[in-house]
Each structure stands twice: as C-alpha cells, then as structure tokens.
C-alpha cells in the first residue's frame, strides 16, 4: 500500500487534473518528436515532477516508469571521488546535483558528458536522445551553472535537459535563455478541493467539502501536502467530520510554540530557551530558511500595523544573511533578538500610551 500521493499520481499528460491547456501544449511539443531543453519552475507541490514524468512517458512510453536507483561514483579530474545517487530508466536519468554540495560542477561536467556521449541502449526506440532531469537547479552553485551553459549546446544532439526548480531567480540568465521555460503555478483552491475529493472517492471515502477547503487552506495550496494531510485526517478519524482538526506536522506546531515563547517574554534567558528550540528543529532536519520563514509568518500574526513592516524588513535582511553565511544559528538568533527588542519597545510604548 503506497501513499495516496503516489497512488493517484496521474501518469499521462491527458490525465492531469489542472493546467490542462499547458498539458496540451506539452503534448504538442512532444509530438513533434523533438523538444528543446526545458526549465520547469513553480512552487513546491504544484506538480512539476508529475508533469515531467507524464511528458517523458508521452515521449518514450511506459518504459520510463521502470525506475532503478543507481549509485554512481564520479571521479573528478582532481582525483576526488564523488558519490551520487541517480534514478534512471532506460531513457532518462534523474539526478540532484546539489547532493554533491560544492562538487556539483563536476557532476554536471562529468555525468552529463558520459550520458550524452553514450548511445541510446536500445536503438529500436524512436528517439535519438536521452533525457537528463536535473532537480533543484536553483541550488546549483554559480560555477556549476556556468558549466552547464555550453554543455547544453554541445550535447544537444544526443541529450535533452529538463531542469526543475522552484524559482528562476537563482538560475543565471544564460541558462534561462537556452531553455523553454514552463511555469507550473500552484493549483487554485477549487482545483485542490476537486483533486482531494476525487482521490477520496477512489478510496471509497466521503470527504465533506468544508474539510476539503480547510485542508486546502492549511496546506497553502500545496497539493502534495494537502494529500498527505488528507490521508492523515483519515488515520485520525473516519468518517470525516466537517469541522475536524486537520493534523499539522509536529515541527509546525513546535515552531508556533517557539514564536509564542518569543512573544510572551523578552529576555536573554528566553532567548537562550529559544536557541535550544531552534537547535531542536535543526536536528529534526528542518532547513534553517524554512525555520526562518515559518517564524516570520507566526510572528507577523502576533504583531500589528507599523511593527509588521519593521519585522518584514528584518526578516528579509536576516534571511539574506542566512543564505550567505556559514552558520545559520547566528542569523536566526540575531533575528529573534532583534524582534524581541522591537517588540518589547513597542509594548512598552503601548503601555506608556495607555498610562497617559
């Protein structure tokens, strides 16, 4: 038994639930028998990967669904060995180069070269090219992205790239200009709801529309999250009730409590406690930027008006530093401290105003 997310994932372009016009365009694209490099971008949970897999299936047939996980060792020219995991079918190869950290450039250079230079294994297939699917392209170092530029042109004949990322802001211009960009926006609330109820129907469950709406809101229109939530609801309680609590992830609850702790008291001692909680989140694999973002959202809910603007600035400032710096905790803590200070000042001013 697999997760609903995987179980009901559409596997052909025709079966996609939303952005149908785009699906048709993609179909046209593939029917020509040839397509340019693609840059698929959109927020997490919008269905980028699903779309790409549908496209590949359209291109190569059911063979692309026979996936195998391979462990590849790449030897960099500097004799350093890099281990990287790839997911591959006979026709395509999926790799997340940012797994290699600083060495991602070598992965780009060597892996794509080897793939591109090797001929298609089965000559009977109708396509002359293989597809390399690179995920999280926005996390590639600039060096690696530069390395990608020429590689893309050079091996065009034998290899197409599909780049997948959340945002094109971090993708350098030369790469953007070499790709056909495909934007995958999040599904609308209605679309999420309809997907949820379809899935529930297939499971033989009855999903009240109110609950569907609530799940959709909580998930922030992230379809993957919505489906996971829905399934968690099912575990929690069935039959569904319209006003049932949608289970949130532990870390979100934890983060909210952390935010509450910040708001309720502002002292070095409390900051120390907050630090311990931040560490706890980090050890639970929550990336620092997500922590920062979640914290900001929660804190913004807790303050008003003029203060919000200030918090928004601070958040942007420290999140930027967090991206640049080495040790996230410095910046997370600086942000928390700063928030505490301005919040404290704000409350004290408020008190003064009340007294007079």
């Amino acid at each position: 038994m697999s997760l609903w997310v995987d179980k009901y994932r559409p596997n052909s372009l025709a079966k996609l639930d939303y952005h149908k016009e785009q699906a048709t365009q993609l179909k046209n694209l593939v029917q020509c028998g040839d397509f340019p490099h693609l840059l698929v971008y959109g927020p997490s949970g919008a269905g980028k990967k699903t779309r790409i897999m549908c496209l590949l299936r359209e291109l190569y047939g059911a063979g692309v669904e026979k996936l195998r996980i391979e462990h590849q060792t790449i030897v960099a020219p500097s004799k350093k060995k890099i281990e990287i995991n790839t997911i591959a079918s006979n026709y395509h190869l999926e790799v997340n180069p940012s797994d290699a950290g600083n060495q991602d450039r070598v992965v780009i250079q060597e892996l794509i070269k080897t793939v591109a230079q090797s001929q298609q294994i089965q000559s009977s297939t109708q396509r002359e090219f293989k597809v390399v699917l690179l995920t999280e392209v926005d996390r590639l170092t600039k060096d690696a992205q530069h390395a990608l530029r020429r590689t893309m042109e050079k091996y065009m004949a034998t290899c197409r790239l599909i780049l997948c990322c959340n945002s094109t802001s971090k993708v350098i211009g030369p790469i953007r200009s070499r790709c056909l960009a495909i934007r995958v926006p999040l599904p609308s609330t209605e679309e999420v709801c309809s997907v949820l109820s379809t899935v529930c129907k297939k499971e033989g469950l009855l999903l009240p529309p109110e609950l569907a709406k609530q799940i959709c809101e909580k998930s922030g229109r992230n379809l993957r999250k919505a489906l996971l939530m829905c399934e968690a609801c099912r575990v929690q309680q069935y039959p569904f009730s319209a006003d049932q609590d949608v289970p949130e992830t532990d870390w979100e609850v934890y983060l909210r409590e952390t935010a509450n702790a910040i708001v309720s008291q502002q002292s070095p001692q409390r900051l120390l406690e907050v630090r311990a909680r931040l560490y706890e989140l980090l050890t639970h694999c929550i990336p620092p930027e997500i922590i920062m973002k979640g914290l900001v959202t929660e804190l913004l809910n807790n303050c008003d008006g003029h203060l919000k603007t200030e918090v928004a600035h601070m958040a942007a400032y420290y999140e930027h530093r967090l991206q640049l710096g080495n040790k996230a905790i410095y910046h997370l803590e600086a942000f928390t401290a700063k928030f505490m200070a301005i919040y404290k000042k704000f409350m004290e001013d408020g008190l003064d105003a009340m007294m007079f």
Partner: protein, 650 residues
C-alpha cells in the same frame, strides 16, 4: 604530553638507563622481533632504588634543551642546572598548592595501604610540579618508584625508518604491557623476600609509547587487563598543551576514566606568588654560594621572570639561572633596558602595589610580556576557559581610574552617540584570541554559546547577536576566508565587549561548549539518512524533510522497513515539551576553574573578592576538572576545509 619533552627524554635518558637487567624470567623472543641490537631487551623498566639520582635524571631529560643552551656559558661549578640542584626535597618546598598535594597524598595513602592498586592520572601544564610532587610524596611515604621509559634506541632512529615503524611500535606496546604486568607481579615477590621498606612501590608512567597516541584503544586494553590484576598504584602523568594535541583526552577519554576508575587530579600553573617565593629562595641560596661572582637579580627581574614563564616553574628557574650568570651581559643589558622603561612603579614589590596602580600597568605589561618571551620566557598562552572569560567578563577601567589616568584621551563622543561611550578596555581582544590557540571561527562559536549569560538587557543582546552575525557574514566567502578570519573574530570579540553596556558583575558562570557543531553535524547526518532511506519517493530534500517525513510519522503505512520506521520516529516527530531535552549542555571546564578567578582577583574591585572566592570554592567542588578540548571539534571543521580546498584546486 609535550612532544618536545618526550623526544628529549627518550634521547637523553634512554640509553644509560636500561642497562641493568632486573628480570631474567622474561621471554627474550618477544623482543628479538624488533631486531634491535641492544644488550638488554628489558629496557622498558628499571627499578630505581635511589630516588635523588632518579629525580635528577628525570629533570635533566625533560629540560635538556635548556641544558644545551647553558652548556657554553655554564662551566665548572655552574655545570649543574639549578632545576636539579634546587629540586624540591620536601612538601614544603613544592611550589604546588597545598590542597593539591594533600589530594595526591591522600590518594597515594589509600591506594598503597590496601593491596589493591588504583590508577591516578595527573594532568596540568608542563612545569607545574606534577612529577616533583609524586617524587617527593613517594619518598616521604616510603614508596619505591618504578618508572617506564620508552625504549627507543638512537641507532634505531637512524637505521631504517620503515623497520622501526613496523617492529618498533608493536614491540613497544608489548613491552609496555609486559612492564606493567611484571611490575605488578614483581611487587608481590618482593614482599615475601625483602624488608618492609621496599615492599610498597608505585609505577610511574610519564612517557607513553608512541603507538598509544595513535591508537589509544590499545592502551585502554592493556589498562583493562591491568586493572583486573592490579596490586600496586599506577600513576600517569600527562602534560597539557594548548597547541591542540590534547593527549590526556585522547589517551584517557571520560568514559575510559570512568570504566577503569581512574582518579584524575589536575595541577594548575604555579601561582605567581609561589613562583616568586621559590625564585627568591633559589637566588638567595646561589648568591650566598657564589660569593658575589654572580649578579644577584633584583626583585623586579624575578617578578618579570615569574610572569614571563606563565606558571612554568621549570622554565622560570632555567631563565633565572641563565639571566643571573655573570657572562650573560647582553641579556643583562636587555633586562636593564626594560626595567628602565618599566619605570619606578615596576621596581616596587608586587604585593605592596595597590590594585589601582597595577591596573594602570596592565597595558604596559602586555607589551612587556612579548619582550620577555625573547629571553627564556614561555609563550604565554591562555586556556580557552580563561580566554573566553576575558572577553565575556568584559573588564573595563572604572570611572575614577579613567579620570585619574587620562585627562587627555581626546574629546568625548558627541551627545547623540553618547550611549556608545565605554571606558577603556583592559584586555586586548585580538591578543586573547591569538593566545587561545583557536581559530577565530571556533572562538566565535564558543562566545556565541556563552555570551547570553553575561547580558541582562535584550537591547544589548541584539547588538551582540548582530555583531556575531556580521562576523559570520565576513567569513562567508570561502575564497577570502583565510584573510577575513582575523577580522571576523575581531568584530565578534570587540562587538561583544562593546555591546555589554551594563557591565554587570556576574561572578562565576559555568561556560559551555558550543552546541552548534553537534547540531549541525546531526542536521547533516539526518538529512543524508533521510535522503538515502526515502529515495524511492523521488522528492527534493526540502519537501521530503518538511512534508513527507512529518506526515509519514502520522500515518500508519506498513510498507516501510525497520530503518525507516526508526528514523521517522526519531526525526519525523518532535516532542512538544517546553524545554528540549535532547541537547545536553556540555560544561566547558578548565584545567583550573580557579584560574579565571585568580586572574580576576587582580583585576576586579576589592569588594568582589569575597564573592569570587566563594565562587572558587563552589566551582572546585562542583566541577570535575578537565581540560578544554577543542580538537575533537576541529577535526570536524578540518573536513570542511578539506573539501573547500579541493574544490579550489580544480
């Protein structure tokens, strides 16, 4: 253990010591493997019935570099180093704190009277009197000291390195094991035969076979074996060094100490007052003996010698001998010059100095310390604990002093900046960081872990945290990191000092090791584990970690394997308790918790003294003395560096 002294010891004392074979029942085959041509294979141990001679040999060994140094200038009657000549012969002469002596004595009494021996580990900076204490005490208690010496022959060194490496090491550790076991056994044989005077003895190990530094586990195995059959006390002496190779931690990790029931007593550097006392006594004795043929050093010289050696009595005596020799006119001139510069205040006795003037001299002393190093002085390094304390406690001039000291410090800050006005600093942050022998990055981490305790206002914390954030940003770019490190640590330390505007006197605060490295490592490991365990979901790390895993924890999904289930339980769920229990604070303790206080005694206001002393008592009771150990962490970081370098190279 100090590498230098180890090498010297083996070189100078090894040869003539292992000549007389004491045990004939040893299997010779064991040693023939090593292929050495020594007449006696039992080189590792020698019963040493005559203590004074032994003591002398010992010190010559460890101070041989000063010996060489002196060789040219010191002739006829001066040929014996003062260190040996004036070696302590009684407890009273020991330049060690009474409590410490007592502690060691108690241990020795307890463990020699029962037939069950124990293991004692003495740690402390070199020249703090560890060996001397053991020697003096064992003499007084009537114990025979049996010492292990590394059997490395000089000719072995010179012949083939390979052979030496292969055979020498393995046989060394076997020899060591043999030594321990035989010494044990030998003891009981003696008991039946000889008189009572020699029946009790003590095994002393100061010199560790090299192998143990690389494979501490082999030492542990030998010790485990020893503990089972122990009959007589075993004393290990390990010198602390600041430069990173912290042998006591690697040779005797905490868990092994607990497992083998090893008592650890750590020595402090010799206190300046004690040091001066000893130096004065020696110089008085020598002056009387030489009848005016040597120049008697004055009090100021003694004082600067004392501070220059930073608590190492051995080096202090050596420099005393060196500088009071009539021939060394050059040095003499140097001392004079400095003394002149020091001015009138310097010549008066340290004890009679008012605290106020002492403080004024602080900056001057900084400079002087550097000059002292040129003449036999030790590189004054700081234990991390003290270094952190210097920054965190934020010593500044008090108001009166500032007014008294400088009327001409330039115009004050304009009114709108007046909140940034601070009194002059009493520490030099860059120097502190440099002397802590740590990279600025680590120092910052330590500061970050601990600074919060020293602040009372959120506003100050904001500023401080911002400076730390700045410091991290400065060193973010790896291409310029090597250059920026210094600036980064400077920004962090000075920023912290500046933002501590309240200057609350907090008294003693325990310091902790940074959690970040541990947290970061765990974060990385967990992320990797997540990626490898749940690869079949084909998700990007972020959605895997923030969406799939937490929900998997909430779902009942039977298809997962054992490892996945365990991982999800560990990572996917967060206990919603208020205070997370997973991270234990690891207290950063010092060799000497009192050291910080000793230091602050001089610098802080008088009224605080009592407080401090209370704190000292408390801390000695409460904290297990050990040493700051940055090295384990450093390894972690070095890995990172390595990656970066290789990245750079292609």
């Amino acid at each position: 253990m100090n590498k230098l002294s180890l090498g010297d010891k083996t070189a100078s004392s090894g040869l003539n010591r292992w000549v007389d074979p004491s045990f004939t029942d040893l299997p010779v085959e064991n040693f023939s493997v090593s292929g050495r041509k020594k007449p006696c294979p039992f080189s590792g141990f020698k019963p040493e019935p005559k203590r004074p001679r032994k003591r002398k040999g010992e010190t010559t060994g460890s101070d041989s570099h000063s010996h060489f140094l002196l060789k040219d200038s010191v002739q006829d009657e001066c040929d014996e180093p003062w260190v040996d000549k004036h070696a302590p012969r009684s407890q009273a002469e020991l330049a060690v704190h009474k409590k410490k002596i007592e502690e060691v004595e108690n241990w020795m009494r307890v463990h020699t009277n029962t037939s069950k021996g124990g293991i004692l580990l003495l740690t402390g900076p070199s020249g703090s009197g560890k060996t001397a204490t053991v020697q003096v005490l064992s003499q007084e208690l009537g114990l025979r000291v049996q010492e292990w010496t590394n059997p490395t022959g000089l000719e072995l060194y010179s012949c083939s390195h390979q052979e030496w490496a292969v055979n020498g090491y393995s046989s060394q550790s076997t020899q060591f094991q043999e030594f321990l076991l035989r010494a044990n056994k030998y003891n009981c044989l003696q008991m039946s035969g000889d008189g009572r005077a020699s029946d009790r003895k003590l095994i002393l190990v100061e010199d560790f076979p090299n192998l143990f530094f690389r494979q501490p586990s082999s030492l542990h195995n030998i010790l485990r074996h020893f503990v089972k059959t122990r009959r007589c006390p075993l004393v290990f002496i390990v010198s602390d060094s600041l430069s990173g190779d912290s042998s006591s931690r690697s040779l005797f990790p905490r868990d092994v100490q607990e497992e083998l029931d090893i008592t650890n007593i750590s020595f402090n550097p010799v206190a300046p007052t004690t040091m001066i006392k000893v130096l004065t006594r020696i110089s008085a004795l020598e002056a009387a003996k030489s009848c005016g043929r040597m120049c008697v050093p004055d009090q100021a010289l003694l004082e600067s010698l004392g501070s220059g050696s930073s608590g190492d009595i051995r080096s202090a005596i050596n420099s005393l001998q060196f500088s009071s020799h009539p021939d060394s006119s050059l040095e003499k001139g140097l001392w004079r010059m400095k003394k002149d510069r020091g001015g009138g205040t310097q010549t008066s006795q340290g004890k009679t100095l008012s605290r106020k003037t002492q403080k004024k001299k602080k900056s001057k002393q900084m400079k002087e310390q550097e000059e002292e190093q040129a003449i036999g002085g030790k590189d004054a390094s700081l234990f991390l604990f003290r270094a952190l304390g210097k920054i965190l406690h934020c010593k500044r001039q008090s108001h009166e002093e500032a007014e008294g000291a400088d009327g001409a410090s330039g115009p004050g800050l304009p009114p709108h900046l007046s909140e940034h006005h601070r009194q002059a600093l009493l520490v030099d942050p860059e120097l502190v960081v440099e002397r802590s022998h740590m990279s600025g990055e680590f120092f910052n981490l330590y500061l970050h872990q601990n600074y919060m305790d020293f602040f009372s206002e959120v506003e100050d914390v904001v500023r401080a945290s911002e400076y730390l954030s700045d410091a991290d940003l400065l060193t973010a770019d790896w291409t310029s990191r090597s250059v920026m490190w210094d600036y980064g640590s400077s920004v962090a330390t000075r920023g912290l000092l500046h933002s501590n505007s309240q200057q609350v006197t907090v008294g003693f605060r325990p310091l902790h090791k940074p959690n970040w490295l541990q947290v970061n490592k765990k974060h990385r490991e967990n992320c990797q584990a997540a990626a490898s365990l749940f690869r079949s979901f084909c998700l990007t790390p972020i959605s895997l970690q923030t969406e799939l895993l937490p929900y998997l924890a909430k779902l009942t999904n039977p298809m997962r394997n054992q490892a996945q289930i365990a991982f999800i339980q560990d990572v996917g769920q967060l206990s919603l308790r208020r205070f997370p229990g997973r991270l234990k604070l690891e207290a950063l303790t010092d060799k000497d918790p009192g050291q910080l206080l000793l230091d602050s005694e001089e610098e802080q206001e008088k009224k605080k003294k009592e407080e401090e002393e209370e704190g000292q008592g408390a801390s000695e009771d409460g904290l297990l003395p050990s040493q700051p150990q940055p090295t384990a962490n450093q390894v972690l970081l070095e890995d990172d560096d390595l990656n970066i370098e290789e990245y750079d190279s292609d």
